[in-house]
Symmetry: C2
Subunit: 237 residues, 2 copies
Amino acid sequence: MAAPMVAALTFDVFGTVVDWRGGIIREGTRLNAEKGLSVDWAAFADAWRGQYRPSMDKVMSGELPWTNLDALHRRSLDQLLAEYGISGLTEDEKVHLNKAWHRLDPWPDAVEGMTRLRRRYILASLSNGNVSLLVNMARYGGLPWDCVLSAELARAYKPDPRVYRMAADLLGLPRDQVMMVAAHKGDLFAAHAEGLRTAFVPRPQADGPNRQRDLTPDPIFDVVATDFLDLARQLGA
Amino acid sequence: MAAPMVAALTFDVFGTVVDWRGGIIREGTRLNAEKGLSVDWAAFADAWRGQYRPSMDKVMSGELPWTNLDALHRRSLDQLLAEYGISGLTEDEKVHLNKAWHRLDPWPDAVEGMTRLRRRYILASLSNGNVSLLVNMARYGGLPWDCVLSAELARAYKPDPRVYRMAADLLGLPRDQVMMVAAHKGDLFAAHAEGLRTAFVPRPQADGPNRQRDLTPDPIFDVVATDFLDLARQLGA
């Protein structure tokens, strides 16, 4: 593929750059110890993430007005705390737990791969996470973004086409000079439909052992890479 | 002032972080040599910058639809090239000259000061420059932003109050935990009116010898600093 044509890489974040599931489990396990709880945080993490798509769908259908991901996470959290019968948390503790999504570890290859890629390409997030979540996460994990872009800026959640169009417009680039990097095929199909290039990094471990995800490369993908170091190699960075 | 309350610093860019005038003169002088021109680029730079406020006013009054700063700069450039009788430039050369605003050098203290400040505070641009201009400038000059925020994201130019409100909203902070840093008092008055804190860094040399600017500190400013190293010292970073 004509790598020199690409000027910027836009990254899906949850699952692609950071290990959301491991991070939530780690934060929850700490809370178990601090509060004497015995919550199964792997199950809790899966249930919390399970509310991700349905909660964004409520926004996109108009059932909810624009609501950023922190606020959607908090709605889901309150519901799950009730379902799990977890009642001993103060408001500050709930806020802190909700912000566990701001404190997710990058995959082991992510920072080094991005640092290499950044020498040659502009690197931007393009996540459904809100701007402050992405900024805090970048500071926490040392993610070297040139630019934090978020669905929040388009007031529409991926895979809405407006999100991908906005990214190319704000970066001042023709869409075929922007490459979407994601572990989720739906994100890449939507980016491709808007004229972006695509790089698939499957991250088979991203959603834990209980969720089946389609890891088969698709012929439309410009690049398929095992991790960000492999992506950097393939893109000449 | 209660520095520990502040969580993020938002920076005016042209004149506050980078030397726009020196950059335009440098790029123009290079063009003189390349094209055998004898343009007075100090005067040209002042005239180009002189169109900055009037061109944004046309957008804010509704005379022009939303137009980002690259496009406003280009309108002004085309007009000035005609006025100066400069006719030998190709379209690519005009595009390159217009993007001189993407290649402006940081003031000598800027990168070191920002690097110190970033240890303790979130650093975001809050400029009338468009996102791609700010991203390219940050890569050119090594500006360590956590987040590139721009008037373009609010589709309103400073000092419109929506720009300052947007910054606090996107950073997920109460407005009094955000401090606007600027060399221009009008920017700080507008930020203060929206509840942001303010830091004045006068940069007396920013607009060249021909423009008078009010450099007197105002009692409403939370901090007055001689440069970003002084700002870092005063803010405990």
